[in-house]
Symmetry: C2
Subunit: 500 residues, 2 copies
Amino acid sequence: MEHRIHNPSLRSRIVSADEAQKWIRDGMNVGVSGFTRSGDVKAIPRALAEYKKKMGDTRRINLYSGASLGEADSDLSSQHLVGRRGPYQSDRDTRGAINRGEIQYIEQHLSHTAEWVRNGEPIDLAIIEAVAITEDGGIVPTTSVGNSPIFVQQAEQVIVEINMAMPEELIGVHDIYIPEKRPGRSPINITRVDDRIGRASIPCDPMKIVGIVFNDEPDSPSTIVPPDGETEQMAGYILELLEHEVKQGRLSERLAPLQSGVGSVANAVFNGLEQAPFDQLEIYTEVMQDAVFHLFDSDKVSFASGCSFTLSREMRDHVLSNLSKYRDRIVLRPQEISNHPEVIRRLGVIAINAALEVDIYGNVNSTHVSGSHIMNGIGGSGDFARNAGLTIFVTKSTAKDGRISSVVPFVPHVDHTEHDVDILVTEQGIADLRGLSPRERARVIIENLAHPYYKDALRDYFKRASQGGGNTPHLLQEAFSWHNRYQETGDMRQRELVLL
Amino acid sequence: MEHRIHNPSLRSRIVSADEAQKWIRDGMNVGVSGFTRSGDVKAIPRALAEYKKKMGDTRRINLYSGASLGEADSDLSSQHLVGRRGPYQSDRDTRGAINRGEIQYIEQHLSHTAEWVRNGEPIDLAIIEAVAITEDGGIVPTTSVGNSPIFVQQAEQVIVEINMAMPEELIGVHDIYIPEKRPGRSPINITRVDDRIGRASIPCDPMKIVGIVFNDEPDSPSTIVPPDGETEQMAGYILELLEHEVKQGRLSERLAPLQSGVGSVANAVFNGLEQAPFDQLEIYTEVMQDAVFHLFDSDKVSFASGCSFTLSREMRDHVLSNLSKYRDRIVLRPQEISNHPEVIRRLGVIAINAALEVDIYGNVNSTHVSGSHIMNGIGGSGDFARNAGLTIFVTKSTAKDGRISSVVPFVPHVDHTEHDVDILVTEQGIADLRGLSPRERARVIIENLAHPYYKDALRDYFKRASQGGGNTPHLLQEAFSWHNRYQETGDMRQRELVLL
Ligand SMILES: CC(C)(COP(=O)(O)OP(=O)(O)OC[C@H]1O[C@@H](n2cnc3c(N)ncnc32)[C@H](O)[C@@H]1OP(=O)(O)O)[C@@H](O)C(=O)NCCC(=O)NCCS
Ligand SMILES: CC(C)(COP(=O)(O)OP(=O)(O)OC[C@H]1O[C@@H](n2cnc3c(N)ncnc32)[C@H](O)[C@@H]1OP(=O)(O)O)[C@@H](O)C(=O)NCCC(=O)NCCS
């Protein structure tokens, strides 16, 4: 194990996870590695939760990560160890505590957190999962980079969790670049997805490393939802659109670098790419899911840049034991870089993300059910949607067996405005909103995307609203009536209109 | 006059405005110069409107500009000559036609329009106001750059309006840089506000210039609203905040490059800077208003980069006849560059923009009164708000003599989400939202920003909403009840609560 610590003077700092958890003090701002359940610290959060379970404890920490953690989120939240949490989570227990007002959720665009920390939000302690520590103290991350570089740079103290289940072949996969403080910052010199502009490990003054803990747990696997008829249909619409863009000369046969959010449609689109007439594709994304590696295997993708791998158990084991096959074609970057507006706009990324619901003018709710209750968080969807060359959101037209329409008069929470959305897709069809006015968008959204259950009611709302005039005509008395009806009756459908 | 056409072979293309307007055909996409009433084409739109008034005409054009035009918007809209309009306007007649559904409004982030055109939205005809045409056909813009470079690059045909009221000393003030098509685009190499990365004129194949018209009208002046007690108070809060940031070491005494939207608070803040303990300030903005030149005169500002001058009559005459005093300290850029996320984030701009209303969680409505009726458009506010180092929105706490609260439970249109807003200011106080959870934000917004008329009602809404739980607790049945009450009774106040 010790050979993973290339700087021998640091070997004396090896401690147990239980010892390390005792250094965590009440009220600390703790920055941890971890992005979409990958490369998260594992042993210390568990030791902290176990200590509390056994001994009782009044500590509460402010927990900042890259994005969602694996078991740690649930372990810590269910033990009431978290006071504040940011910038993203997707855990049942954490979500519950946030919605009850017990955890203060500092939900941020994933590219924003590093600036926030750099501008002065203190990080008392960084806990980072690593493959190894280099001679000069450099920390080599594992399967995600997340916010680890900025946490390490700004932290008072650093604890490293070396994960022996992570192969040393991961060394060299990362490209760690940290933008300078302002003023005097330089351009981020990425002009191709495979550009490398940084170093292979996170620079760290060895003096700051106060402890080193070993673990050997694999990442908790992602649960891939296999494509169903509807997600395949949605993927089909997107692939047709892309073919159309190529025909129109707006994209080449290599398309443009692809981003996709987590979820089943994204996976279905990527699966669909295996048969599609595109070649030498490139990925510039946050999360590389199983489908990316399938596309490598079928030689469809030439390079993938991301911030983490989030893989099923089988794919994880396959990738980690066959890294030499992939390592020249992938790079993992800090989320400040994978999600940076500068790079996303320069590359003209094609961004595909999922929505909870959309409204008739194209505003998107990705986060808050009924406007109040958080699901996960905005994550990187805003970084990509605002800056991409082509911005696509997908959602099934209904949820809860048709009782909820995901196309509504007015979304009760806006994550992405009408200006940030080019294309919307449901299993009913596709709406190309580019260059349309709001009233024109409303017609296309209602006709192409809404479920037949809800089409007439949407047409009726839009027609009556338009009589009052406006650029985005609304009837504010009724705008949320669909959501209210669902809360009261468990079904958004209006009986009369369904029977029409 | 002809000496302004440095390429003699082009002198034969001089025509009258009336002749030129006849080349405009029904259904054309016309891209014109003009940004915030400056540097807009004047003679040809007027000739078009006059022709229609006299002769009748069935033509309708799609009119795309930099931002708002001077007289042209009103001339063309009131003559029903406009079918589609984008990306921004601020004209009474145009707004009316949009809200009646007669003009389709393609409202866009001001940095997005150039990408949209580059990606294939055709420009049939560009009409550009110029100081001069260079030897090689280069078009030197006047008091704004706007989208003229991309319109000229993409247009089939170009008409130039040379404005003799614009001094030739403007030559050299502009920095025209047009990002490449993707893939293969390079970084925008601006790392300081005074960096010049382009050329002094808009490149144009002389063959595309089908006509040259002369005019000699000055820009229509901006009507500066002088500071009142309330705007001065708001400016005071912002200046205190900036001093605090300097003390905390988050900003230097040079602050960071400043952006401000049009309007009275922005002007009041800039006026306040004359007395403030900051030095060698820099501006990186869209619009340079009067206050920028006052700050030059008092030696507070060392350099200003913008996309247009929008000046009062007096200041306009002063600046244009004393250009030599200012020309080494200013640059005018295309709006794609003045508003580019890449540059704004790199520089860490301090962005100050006005809102119509804000909600208790920090979402901002800048555009749609009652959610339906457009005021102006989102303009560049989203480009700056999302990417700035410090994002400030200002609004008076009430409108219409207190009958409207500009702090509401739920904004009926979202332009800027809770994630894009750091600081909110009304004449009642300032709310620093950085690092706060939504429920914490609600308390600060209600207590610091709301008018006493409305505070209790907001507290009551938030308290009852919180009982239902959630990350951003809402009562959807009531969320818009304030706006409904205003529509029904002409006053948002609830009688019982006002009397408390
Ligand atoms: C929006 C998001 C929740 C959709 O996730 P998904 O897995 O594709 O969506 P699903 O259709 O499986 O729906 C998830 C849940 O929301 C429910 N749901 C879907 N639409 C809904 C709606 N309109 N109203 C209420 N609930 C809805 C589903 O029923 C399901 O509930 P369940 O967990 O009880 O079964 C997810 O993409 C997300 O968190 N996005 C925000 C962050 C992001 O975009 N990241 C990508 C870039 S990083
Ligand atoms: C939001 C915006 C309209 C505010 O402009 P302003 O001149 O500072 O605001 P004012 O307080 O004078 O208000 C303008 C009008 O809106 C009305 N108004 C203000 N708050 C209101 C509210 N909450 N509800 C309804 N009307 C409101 C005012 O009464 C006034 O009406 P009037 O014209 O009938 O007198 C303006 O800043 C804008 O268009 N912004 C969007 C674009 C932008 O931000 N550009 C800057 C970067 S480019």
